[in-house]
Amino acid sequence: MRRGPAAPAAPAGGGPLLRVQQVRKTFGTHVVLDGVDLDVEEHAVVVLIGASGSGKSTLLRCIDLLEEIDDGVIELAGTDIADPRLDADVQRARMGMVFQQYNLFGHLRVIDNLTLAPRLVHKVPADQARADALAMLDRVGLADKARAFPDELSGGQAQRVAIARALVGRPELLLLDEVTSALDPELVGEVLTLLAELKSTGLTMLLATHEMAFAREVADEVCFLHAGRVHERGTPAQVLSDPQRERTQEFLRRITG
């Protein structure tokens, strides 16, 4: 790797790396986020759970500035990144995002998927970007797929490439939106194993998932989203094993069957 292990700038004043306060987002008359509060400490893994349509994806997209919020504060290492006076492109480049459907660029080989942003955004020289990308592919166990096109990969491989692509820009925070939901059951494991490895390197992650076993194992904090708010939060043991609120209990009952 080019600049050592994942080591984002320490947030000013020692606050959390990501601070989300009273974030509101509506689509037309539909209120998706109705005052979300959320902190992610540096090196922590925070898991968002909640029913479909509870706003998990929208929250992640708002944090990555892919959606404009209607109100509230999103601070990354002390910077109010939703401030329209800031260059949103610069702020987005500080974060990595992994999508449910991988969203790899179908016309580019794996290696070019990885080098695109470093070359264009971070102005890394082509050969350096290539070396970085190959190292990152090696890290996700796919060095032999560098020349492949995305449609030649299995779902698990594609998602690992997508994670590698998000990581190669050295993000301070990695956002993951149900990254295993599109995968066949036997391919889920390889992606979750990779995420657990990334946690051990100190990467800060905020992820939406339906994999409760994984949340239990890896999460430092679990947030249950309901009706556009964080309805209940706590350690995995608290939220997943001993939920206090009725909606959380109901949700967990439904997904565990």
């Binding site: 492109d89 500080r94 969203n103 660029f105 971070h122």
Partner: protein, 293 residues
């Protein structure tokens, strides 16, 4: 699908029997196809040749001597068509791309540009090509303004570019809008600017998608390049017209027609070959389908 040669694998009797049956069926199919083709061809040939008008048709449309005599001139004319087509195609693609991109620009500052592009497309898609040709070809030189070209070929090409770029711009725009928003989200999440996203994520995939439609327009252009003959340019159509008048025989038109068809066939083959390249159709989300019996 061929059976892989795995070591230690021997086809079972049942599989060998299946393959014997398939080979036999294939032989039978070939034979049937051959017989029916020969039979139908014979019926058509005999029918046509025995019809009372055939000798006159052959004399008037398929006269070998006239074809041979007119071929050099028609070919020379076709060479002009090819050159006009190539130059126009390049200009059309450049102009159309600019129009499509202008229409996809966001932000209030670009409103006049967006409106201009939209107006241009509306105007030149609505105007019959022949009107544009007449207006540009005869109208412009009639103004006797400085710097306006007077060559029929240049003016004809200009009219083609004006008209076709409006169509092709819409093809590009459809391609751009057809790229899934998730590709834009992925690019923007990596920190790419709007322009970088368009140039490196959206446009390459949009262009791949619309290649078949573009090819269709290119074939159309190759034929419409013959319309410059109405301005007096001696292309394949005009050359055939002259030869037809000289020989009092329509064979030169048929020669020109055959040449135009021959010109367009390779264009289709080139795109087919392109489409087979890996990563080319991937942008369309094409899946590799198995063979279905």
């Amino acid at each position: 699908m061929s059976v892989p040669d795995a070591p230690g694998w021997v086809a079972s009797d049942r599989q060998r029997e299946r393959e014997r049956f398939r080979r036999a069926r294939a032989r039978r199919s070939t034979l049937v196809a051959l017989t029916s083709t020969v039979a139908l061809t014979a019926v058509i040939v005999l029918g046509v040749r025995s019809s009372p008008g055939w000798p006159r048709v052959r004399q008037s449309f398929f006269n070998p001597q006239v074809a041979l005599d007119s071929l050099p001139d028609v070919l020379a004319g076709l060479w002009l068509n090819v050159r006009v087509m190539v130059v126009c195609a390049v200009l059309i693609v450049v102009l159309a791309l600019a129009l499509a991109l202008a229409r996809s620009l966001r932000g209030p500052a670009f409103f006049p540009l967006r409106a201009l592009a939209a107006g241009y497309v509306d105007l030149f898609r609505g105007l019959p090509l022949i009107l544009v040709l007449l207006l540009v070809g005869f109208g412009l030189p009639g103004l006797r303004l400085q710097g306006i070209p007077t060559s029929a070929v240049t003016l004809g090409a200009l009219a083609l570019v004006l008209s076709y770029s409006a169509y092709v711009a819409e093809v590009f725009r459809a391609g751009i809008e057809g790229v899934h928003p998730s590709q834009v989200a992925a690019a923007r999440s990596l920190g790419l600017t709007r322009g970088q996203t368009m140039a490196h994520a959206v446009l390459p995939q949009a262009v791949r998608r619309v290649v078949p439609a573009l090819l269709n327009d290119l074939i159309s252009l190759s034929k419409d390049s013959g319309l410059i003959s109405i301005l007096g340019a001696v292309d394949a159509v005009r050359a055939a017209q002259i030869q037809t008048a000289e020989h009092a025989n329509f064979t030169p038109y048929v020669v020109a027609g055959v040449l135009f068809v021959l010109l367009t066939v390779p264009l289709s083959r080139v795109t087919d070959a392109l489409a087979k390249r890996s990563g080319w159709l991937a942008a369309q989300g094409a899946l590799t389908a198995g063979t279905v019996r």
